[in-house]
Symmetry: C2
């Protein structure tokens, strides 16, 4: 590094590149333009019998809180393959994907979440490196006050509603607040 | 730039960062790590009456071929807002979104496409900077041999099938080849 002053680490200056119509982050050192885009999160509501698999997070944000096995889609990966990989990485379990439960837009954090319905192939799971604990929960046992993210609430309720009604169409927005308030059916 | 040799432009060296389990592109100059992820494409099959809006591309890839108004989702944008923006940018038209027609995984190019069903708010459209021409096509008028991408074929057929059957559930994979071969119903 040749310049004085604080170290520059990658694209850290705002500017509108030629032919573009938005500000992008540009590297002051080499001119590299970062075309940053929203990220895709893939995951699953995976059941064994009537119980749902949840993972207690070993990492921040929301360390110690319960979540679905889910994470960022990787390059070259299909969304269903990504959901299977996350179930393996976070809960050391193999799942069988049944359909796309929901697509949740979370523009505030530039995420699109795709959550699949799935079942465990066998009753075998264990915490991966990002989990403290992995467990199956009946609906009435779910630790509602210790759920990591709103979208986990949404997916659990959408899954419950789909199983009860037999309507497996893909959900595209959060359930209404009255439904979410109804923790125990 | 301080080093001799060919210019380095941004993350251009492969390496596995500490605590990660995959190769990422790293900038040899400043150590910046690029966490590149799949991109989300949002678009619509938008109709006016029975006819569908298509845009003839003014840019590569596939310049001169016909496509749906679609493009990359931007940071901080919901997928439906992105589809509306693309209809405006590419076809200078306002659309009303009706539902999520399809989610297509295209892992070969690390894309997830979300295609909405929509209708034009008024019969008013014009080519934006990325289009040579914008037109409404009845099913029998669609220029099948000049369609830009496979996923445009998929979405047109899925849309046709949904309108005919009244089954508006979100499609998650390409239609079968026999359906695709049936250009004129």
């Amino acid at each position: 590094m040749s310049t004085a002053g604080p170290p520059i680490r990658g694209p850290s200056v705002k500017g509108i590149p030629e032919g573009d119509n938005r500000e992008r982050m540009i590297c002051a050192e080499c001119g590299y333009i970062l075309y940053d885009n929203p990220k895709v999160v893939v995951g699953s509501v995976a059941r064994w019998g009537e119980r749902i698999l949840l993972c207690r997070r070993s990492i921040n944000p929301r360390r110690g809180f319960w979540t679905l096995p889910a994470g960022y889609l990787e390059l070259g990966e299909s969304t269903s393959a990504g959901a299977e990989r996350e179930a393996w990485e976070e809960a050391q379990t193999r799942i069988l994907i049944e359909g796309l439960l929901a697509v949740y837009d979370i523009p505030r954090i530039s995420q699109v979440q795709l959550i699949y319905r799935a079942r465990l192939i066998e009753e075998r799971f264990a915490p991966g490196p990002e989990s403290l604990e992995v467990r199956l929960f009946g609906w009435d046992e779910i630790p509602w006050s210790e759920i990591a993210f709103s979208s986990v609430h949404w997916a659990l309720h959408h899954h419950r509603e789909a199983q009860a009604s037999g309507d497996f169409t893909t959900r595209t927005s959060a359930p209404d607040p009255a439904t979410l308030a109804r923790k125990a059916l």
